[in-house]
Symmetry: C2
Subunit: 87 residues, 2 copies
């Protein structure tokens, strides 16, 4: 079976986010005064082969821990996991 | 009121994603043979002031269209919108 997983990799709350500050200030300069904060992370969509939902989730978690996130400064979560029709 | 919005900015399906190919190939080189595809986008968390949920959503959409996405190659969606307690 093939699964589609959406993973969010975001900076930990205590870590400075210069990219987010640029986004916030850019929005303010464009007249969006109501923006208080912005933080920028990664959204990764993976298609993986796995026997069942549990295995797919476990596989994607290992991928995150091995390559996709930097555990010193980043958190990750699987925001969605669904089976693909063609899988 | 203050609102927290999560925005996903992703490349349109027809657009090549070299970063995603690097992620896919990197995972395969690490032994994750079951990975078929990977695509990389942005996950942006915004805190904005707005009168109500409808205004907040409309404001964040305008921010996306003005600054956060490149309409030629990227799509965006608001994946979550919630009121913050201190708002």
């Amino acid at each position: 079976m093939t699964w589609s997983a959406e993973v969010i990799v975001s900076l930990k709350p205590v870590v400075n986010d210069p990219q987010g500050l640029v986004v916030r200030d850019g929005l303010r300069q464009l007249g969006f005064d109501g923006v208080r904060a912005a933080r920028v992370g990664k959204h990764i969509v993976l298609e993986v082969d796995a026997e069942d939902e549990h295995s797919a989730r476990e596989l994607v978690s290992r991928m995150c821990e091995t390559l996709l996130r930097n555990p010193v400064i980043e958190d990750h979560r699987i925001s969605s996991l669904r089976r693909l029709e063609d899988g």
